[in-house]
Symmetry: C2
Subunit: 229 residues, 2 copies
């Protein structure tokens, strides 16, 4: 058995303010995991046996309704915790998490949660701050879903993803993982047809550029304005 190096997590937000000893102790309970693109990290309604830290990659968090409709709740980038059901008093996962690309994670057994938060109040505070941010994000999306037209919702989704995960290329900000028209539709509550039409229209206007599973935001400001922001 090897030892995980603390440099893996030392600079990540959830562990801000912890000592090297703390980090080592926390890492001692973790187990590394690899999840291939398209495979689940955990599944909706399954018993929440573990929580995870995404070290590298991107994960899509999806809720599926009783009648089979899907909604993408959010995309998780590296450095963030996922599956922290226990932190919010749940014993099962509220959604499915799917690797959007090949991912590296650390996994802790859920029982470790209460011990870690008790022993490291800073860790708990960091986590609840993150929960607060997610809550706010959720509220913002609720407002948007309730009031904004489809074009605005799609534009905002692209702008958010480009900002959060974009890599600068000579054409603009390329969203940092493969994403289909269907995925975008599932984030915004519309259909792949409408997303396709919007993207072609925007490409024609020079606002975005896209190919199979790749979307680049060419001109964020004009895209923003174009949908009225």
């Amino acid at each position: 058995m090897y030892t995980l190096d603390r440099s893996l997590i030392a600079n990540l937000a959830p562990f801000a303010g912890l000592t090297p000893q703390d980090l080592d102790h926390i890492l001692a309970k973790a187990r590394p995991a690899r999840v291939a693109e398209g495979r689940p990290v955990f599944e909706q309604d399954a018993e929440a046996h573990s929580f995870f830290l995404l070290l590298d990659g991107h994960v899509r968090v999806v809720k599926t309704t009783a009648d089979g409709e899907q909604v993408i709740m959010r995309y998780v980038s590296s450095g963030q915790l996922i599956g922290i059901a226990k932190a919010l008093g749940r014993s099962s996962y509220p959604a499915t998490a799917v690797a959007a690309v090949d991912c590296m994670l650390l996994a802790w057994p859920s029982e470790a949660w209460s011990e870690l938060t008790l022993r490291y109040p800073g860790f708990a505070a960091n986590t609840y701050k993150a929960v607060g941010e997610r809550m706010e994000e959720a509220h913002d999306r609720m407002v948007e879903l309730a009031t904004a037209q489809v074009d605005r919702r799609v534009a905002h989704a692209l702008l958010r993803l480009a900002k959060q995960t974009g890599r600068k290329t000579d054409e603009g900000m390329l969203i940092g993982f493969p994403i289909t028209r269907q995925d975008i539709a599932d984030m915004t509550g519309t259909t792949l047809h409408t997303v396709s039409r919007l993207l072609t229209a925007w490409e024609y206007l020079g606002l975005v550029k896209s190919t199979r599973k790749k979307v680049t935001v060419v001109d964020a400001e004009r895209l923003q304005e174009h949908v009225g922001g």
Copy 2:
């Protein structure tokens, strides 16, 4: 100066498991407040100077967008905490809270938050459990807004309100506070016109009954089925 009686809060979820002494100490820091129907308890973006416990009444939590559109995030019933911005690492209120009827509240200065959670871990746990529940609620509404038709969204809103706040009458469950067509529209992301049409149609079918600012769910099961549940 008088003393607040601990029986005011002894049986409420946020204070479950605390001793009488704990309760007295917590109450010593609280200040009672009355807010008349239609008046704000706190306002969006204002500095979060206090958090509150709703002792009696109903409060509507509303977000207003830059372009003046309103969305009702939730209704708060008595016994619940509101305005706990500090618990989630915020320094301003994310929304406006308006008294839906005349309300009685207790108010604590925000600085008391960290002291209370540190001294009473049970209080903290109770709170985060509640936060988890709200998070889940928010997610459910996101899914619903993204996938369900207007009639289903309106029906679910009414069923939820009837269950949470309803008072049994000889006609069914009467929603426990005055609510207008516009309010229902603001909860579900539609217009007062559509809500009005739905309510008249459902009244004709014997599913609901409504007059000015009052809505009664007559037959919850059939209403549920009618929108496909």
